[in-house]
Amino acid sequence: MVRTDSFFGDKLRLARLLKGLTQKELGDLVLTSRQFIHQLETGTRYPPPDVIGAFCEILQVEKTFFCHQVGNDVKPEQCHFRKRKTTPVGLAYRVLAYSTIFEELVSYLNDLLELPQPDFPVSEHEKEPYSNLDIEKAAENCRKRWRLGIDTPIANLTRVLENFGIVITQFKGVSDKVDALSVNRRFPIIIRNSAKESICRLRFDLAHELGHFILHDGLETGDPPTETEADKFASAFIFPRMAFQKEFPNFKGSRLNWTLIYDLKMRWGMSVKAIIYRANFFGLIDATQYRSANVWLNKTGQSKIEKFDDKIRPEEPELLFNAVNILEKERGISPNQIAKILGIQPGLLSEITGIEFLRKEKPNNIVPFFTRRTL
């Protein structure tokens, strides 16, 4: 039994990082010093009750949150996360904290529910980097194992991944500097950035993270070679080579026909930028055509958001939402109760799941003031 008056500093650190606050910022908010926060986090001092109350309010957690030690926090090397030069250190810690809490939620749901079991072919990696052919084959093997065929577009990639045991969530407001990240410990989890407007880029990010699961299981990633391998996997998984060579029009010696390329984009859910990259990769267009295509995309303002992005059917994660709904319907465990079990406030649960829990639970012993007067 955990004592309710105990306080674990590592939990304070986790909640602080999740909110993206520095020790000084948190200290300022609860009217204490940075040093005091540091002492609390390292366990050399304990906070008075009023400070704990303030922490709860600011960090959107319950008092019980601090009563349990962080069981198994996500370490940087366990997280597939593109470490860009521009990514602030604080942001990296924030996404790790986010992954730790999210994993706790998935673990709780997995105790009560039958979720799809992870099923993807992990490559036997060697020390040498993968060849392009290895990556193409790895993507095809995965498609074959999942009975997707190697010549068919995938209508809803999010659903496919969820069907094969990957839990996908979307976070809001962490930073648009993070494309997506993934963790593969007890459960394979992909956390995607919901701020992205292009569905093609979102799909590519999901396939990129799948590439890490398959190619880089147990390897530290984030460096250019592994990121490039995951990108190549994403291209090969979304638009396999045989289908690409069959469907990409012959532009040899002529100008690119953009109408046809946009047709391919709409059919395969892959950005034009990625399509022309792949066409160049296979030698289906020459370097000059590739260069001029990129110049045209930049000139027409399509470097990030392309034409017809809004015409592609959006994809939303469904597994988590359905799991929470089933728990509420069948077991009467509401999102608020789930939040309470995790020691966090409902607002924070919404934040980490990307799901707006609209229904407000009201205590049933409150009688509206005017009703009472008329009684």
């Binding site: 529910l113 039958e114 065929g149 209508a155 496919v160 100008r255 709409m266 077991r331 465990i333």
Partner: protein, 206 residues
Amino acid sequence: MNNLPWEHSPDLSEDKIKGIAQLIQTVRSEIVDLHDEILGDTPLSLGTRAYECCRSRIIALAKSNSCPWLSILTEEGRFTFQIGKTPVRFTRNDPKDLPSKKLIPSQETIKQLRFFDIDSDFGENSYTRWFFVVDTPYKVPAENIFFVGYRGESGEIVCQWTIPLEESVYMGLSLVGANLPQPVELPPAPVMLKPRLTGKSGNGEN
């Protein structure tokens, strides 16, 4: 004069008109890119090629079934397609100075419209002729495309709408997509309750 086409006919919705206009614009741009005077290209070859490529692409689009509202009324001669049930043609001209011969409709159009869209004050040929009018100089991609309604043989303009070309409208697969494998679609991932354990549920309910 009603200013907007869809006020004349609900068939002529904004998205459909913009989509066709964009196709015409794209095709003309591609043809202008291919124009080569050293090879012997002239204004006539450019115009003929642009017209024919637009015609064949509209036919391909209609046959692809990705735009169920688009069909071909007259494939040869006075090429006429239909948006819904409304016959429409396209031409490169000054919309205010359309040659009267352009207003002569195809036989299929006459059959279709003579009993419907007529104004009894103006006689049985008074129905509105709808045109996409590309107003652009030689060797220049389509600068302006208008959607214009001309009343009867006199060609009185009853509607003229400048189509905003900067907004993208996707028209569906035009040339690829036929006879290719359809996208694979999976149902939502299954989720179900685990059987309850006897004794403590361990889920916070107790």
